[in-house]
Symmetry: C2
Subunit: 214 residues, 2 copies
């Protein structure tokens, strides 16, 4: 597998969404140029991104077969396999993620949730059971869970992380706004909602200064 | 103002975070090369991104004065002004955002929240009052709010959007997983949590195939 940038990985779901729409509209072939135009991206970049996921170069003028490219992106991004995850911290954000509809079709299944608050134990949210922290290690081992989603407050995130690593977790999607210390074989993806806001904020400034976002 | 890509806008907060850390450690000058190395990005790209925010080209070897660059990025991203926002939909995600600590320092202040559920009206979350939908238009007008955050279920999002536009909203940060129809002078930033998951998912596949993410 070639090295791939995080930016490519984040553009691929957008191509997928666009291609799915085209497929549903009966469009049988789509070129990199069309994708670039529709999503307001650079054509060379789109072409490069697509090279990661497909062996077919696409025909110079007509491009790629839509359904094939959809399938190839899905395979590349792992939508056809199921990644079982545990979620730690059943607060507002935790509950929002447990209720989120869009994960399953992308191959993410939150199998179990944990919280240290005894009043939350044994509740079920969308059929996902909330268990006490003492169960984390045995359950992750038994279910062979490698992915954890952290939605605890910042000051508890490192302690939770240490426990997750002891429990065999290899990838962490961290929503707590704090940098986690992990061994080199554990992957952390740091979610930062305020980064999206930079795009919105810049636009609001534009309302005054009249620039443009491409 | 030059046209700027969404990718640049999303990288700038990462530079800002890194530069702040450097500044706190007493590092007085930082070059594009150092930023690129630390964040595993392309140096040419970092250099280009920085050109958007600063008039100073930076010295060829030593780079930019850390504190100046921090300030320039903050100004560019609008952290020094306050963007007042309203939030529609006080469910789990809405509550999570109302409780989120990181917005204020980036210039985002959620001033008021709205919900159609009468049992939620007049509650306060972090001193932000929940008001009925009937108050949306007069309150947004009175407070001159131009930014709205949508956290209602997908099927209600368009109806809410129409009301927001009537109320003078010019920018929408949409967390509902649905495409909104808006006039051309209204900016929508579509949040999609499952896009971040594509990065995590790709890593989990790596555990088997042993690739690498740059």
């Amino acid at each position: 597998m070639k090295r791939i940038s995080i930016h490519t990985l984040k553009r691929l779901p957008r191509y997928h969404q666009y291609l799915l729409e085209q497929q549903h509209s009966g469009v049988q072939k789509v070129s990199a140029k069309q994708i670039a135009l529709a999503l307001e991206l650079n054509e060379v970049q789109v072409r490069k991104d697509i090279q990661y996921v497909t062996k077919s170069p696409g025909k110079p003028k007509t491009g790629h077969i839509t359904s094939t490219l959809v399938y190839e992106i899905e395979t590349f991004l792992g939508y056809h396999q199921t990644n079982h995850a545990c979620l730690i911290g059943v607060g507002h954000l935790g509950k929002a993620l447990l209720n989120y509809e869009g994960f399953l079709e992308k191959g993410l299944e939150i199998s179990v949730a944990f919280d240290k608050d005894e009043t939350k134990i044994d509740q079920s949210i969308k059929q996902i059971k909330v268990l006490p922290m003492s169960q984390l290690r045995p359950i992750c081992n038994r279910l062979k869970i490698q992915l954890a989603i952290i939605t605890v407050p910042s000051e508890q995130a490192q302690e939770v992380t240490d426990l997750l690593i002891e429990s065999g977790i290899k990838a962490i999607w961290n929503f707590a706004p704090t940098t986690l210390v992990v061994p080199s074989d554990v992957f952390v993806y740091q979610e930062d909602l305020s980064i999206s806001f930079s795009v919105v904020s810049h636009h609001l400034q534009k309302l005054v200064t009249k620039g443009d976002i491409k």
